[in-house]
Amino acid sequence: MKPLAIALLNVRRLFRDRSNIFFVIITPFVMIFLMGLLFGGGRQLHVGVAGGTTPLADRLATSLGSPSIQVARFGSEERLLADVERGRLHGGLVIPAGYEATLRAGGRAEVRYVSRPGDPAAADLGSRVRWAVSREAAVLKAAQFGAAEGGTAGRADAGADAGAASAFDESLRLASGNAGVDVKVVTVGRSEIPPGFGQFAFSAPPLLLLYTFLTALTASIGLVQTRRLGISRRMYASPTPARTIVAGEAAGRLAIALLQSLLIMLGSAVLFGVDWGDPLGAAAMVILFALVGGGAATLLGALVGNEGVAISVSVILGLGLGALGGTMVPLDSFEGTLRTIAHLTPHAWGYDGFAELVRHDADLPGISSQLGVLAGYAAVLFALGSWCLRRALVR
């Protein structure tokens, strides 16, 4: 099995270099950890609430709290804003003075969320606050509806105001689920990141894509060196057909890409408890994306004449396409044209595929379009890479 021998030699050479061990084995996990903290909301978030003194306002303020969100009450809006500005808080919620009365009268109240621009933690907190507020809004709406329908029977003797008030409270109690009534919260559209979603399950898939592609591309350096030193010619002088050498070298890049992605997948499952979803779907994603990376590396390795150029191109393409494809700043935050452009990269399709698997429990058929696009990339890159490498060999 000569192609296998050639492929394995490539893997062996990769790990002969100590710095590669660090680059391939250690840094991905450090990055998953850091990116998880940064974008995945794994740290303590601090939110301030101003105007939370009346019972309903207090309800809302309390509902914001969770193990990862600490709520601080503020007497005045000015002090709240000052603390947000200084970065002491990730964000602040301002409940207006008429909140309680407006709601009890069946009206619409508005609350304001303030944060500093460009703070990813604030954006993360913002989405959690919005989530909590919309849930509270649904409950309040149900309570208003209950009150308008005349409240609970057996309250006729009370005064009209008092009756309406207690009907509201009674409905609120029921709607809140204390009496076993569930209020289903319906939001329009799909939340991209389900609440309670693990922070590392958020950061691991994009970094798998980033590293797999980057590591595969840097594996082109070995191929460039093999050509430049005349080793590939020497291989060709042995009784080994050109197609075997090409297959072996291409398989070598693929093996390195596969190794990197499997390492990240299994490592993040063990270290950070990331659930990669449907095993078949995850396997298909990993294999196809590794094929894309391996194909690109073979093409690069066949085209470039010296290792310095190969390194530069690998880093520029690896990081550039990675960033554009949403593996550094989450693809979810891309909108409009940028999102369309992002989908010129295989990374964005990989991102979408993994998002379906990891966040929304999709199975293999559920990611068929992403798999199809990746298969297309892989086929084109491998065909081009093999053709160029064969030409470079015989020339």
């Binding site: 000569k2 021998a5 050479r13 005349g230 080793i231 002088a237 050109a242």
Partner: protein
């Protein structure tokens, strides 16, 4: 049947005729040297011989079999030592050998034994498990050769195997080539070191600008010159007395000299030397020193091409 026979081999790079209708043959056990300056077309010829470069014309036969870039069967008969150090620098000598052994189809056990053999042959067995990057230039050259010997080739092709090595390594390399030739391996050797060609090669082809200009044994090539060997002797006294005796020796074309010095023009200095010393002894002339000057391949090259072998 020659082990290697090439006929009208031709290679063109654009307008440049790098190799122009080159023909020669190498027999079993014979060492054939291609001697020529930089850019003469030696490496291009060799690349077509080992089958890593497509030719534009002509034919290559290995053991009588047609041979080109796709001939896996004949490639198995050739050992190739390229001009460049085609080694994985980050792997050890043994790992390099194991990998190429695999490509030549050696299976595990025979490969292990053969690797030990070739490592000993090039005197690298003591440092076989060190990464190649830690080797000296000469050690890398020797490993480069060891890989070419792995498959016990019928035809060994060496492209300037001694470029830039120390005298010790050079000697080790030349000795191993001589040993292989003695075992019957046909060898094609390129160099622009004239001394190497003279020491190793049974026959030499002189090439320049893609052409084979002259071919033959050293003697045959030197015969192309109007030059003969010279023997210069320093004697104690009685030089004049000895001159007539020396003139009468068969093979001596001219003899002359004054007091301390004698100069002879002869056919073959090396074989005549004992007779010359003997004759002087009989004449009672004491010899202090002897110097032999033979016309060499360098002079032949200069004569044929009008330029020096090395820049």
């Amino acid at each position: 049947m020659p082990v290697l026979e090439i006929t009208d081999l031709t290679k063109r790079y654009g307008d440049l005729l790098a190799v122009d209708h080159m023909s020669f043959a190498v027999e079993e056990g014979e060492t054939y040297g291609l001697l020529g300056p930089n850019g003469a077309g030696k490496t291009t010829t060799i690349s077509m011989v080992v089958g890593v470069l497509d030719r534009d014309g002509g034919e290559v036969l290995i053991d009588g079999l047609r041979h080109d870039v796709t001939s896996v069967k004949t490639k198995a008969l050739i050992g190739y030592v390229p001009q460049e150090l085609a080694l994985y620098p980050d792997l050890t000598a043994r790992e390099n050998l194991r990998f190429f052994g695999h490509l030549y189809g050696l299976t595990a056990r025979p490969a292990r034994m053969r690797i030990t053999e070739v490592l000993e042959l090039v005197e690298l067995h003591e440092r076989a498990d060190e990464a190649v990057t830690k080797y000296s230039g000469g050690m890398m050259r020797r490993l480069n050769i060891a890989i070419g010997l792995l498959n016990r080739p019928r035809l060994l092709v060496l492209d300037e195997p001694t470029a830039g090595v120390d005298p010790h390594s050079r000697n080790a390399i030349l000795e191993s080539v001589q040993r292989l030739a003695a075992e019957g391996v046909a060898t094609l050797y390129t160099t622009h070191y004239m001394e190497e060609a003279e020491r190793l090669c049974d026959r030499v082809g002189i090439v320049d600008a893609g052409h084979m200009l002259a071919e033959g044994t050293r003697r045959e090539l030197v015969g192309l010159l109007d030059e003969h060997d010279r023997v210069i002797l320093r004697v104690a006294d009685g030089a004049a007395r000895a001159v007539p005796t020396l003139r009468d020796l068969p093979g001596v074309l001219k003899a002359g000299g004054e007091d301390g010095d004698l100069e002879l023009i002869v056919n073959e200095a090396r074989s005549l030397l004992p007779a010359i010393i003997g004759a002087l002894g009989e004449a009672g002339v004491e010899v202090r020193s002897v110097e032999v000057r033979e016309p060499d391949l360098e002079s032949v090259f200069l004569h044929i091409t009008g330029k020096a072998l090395r820049d």
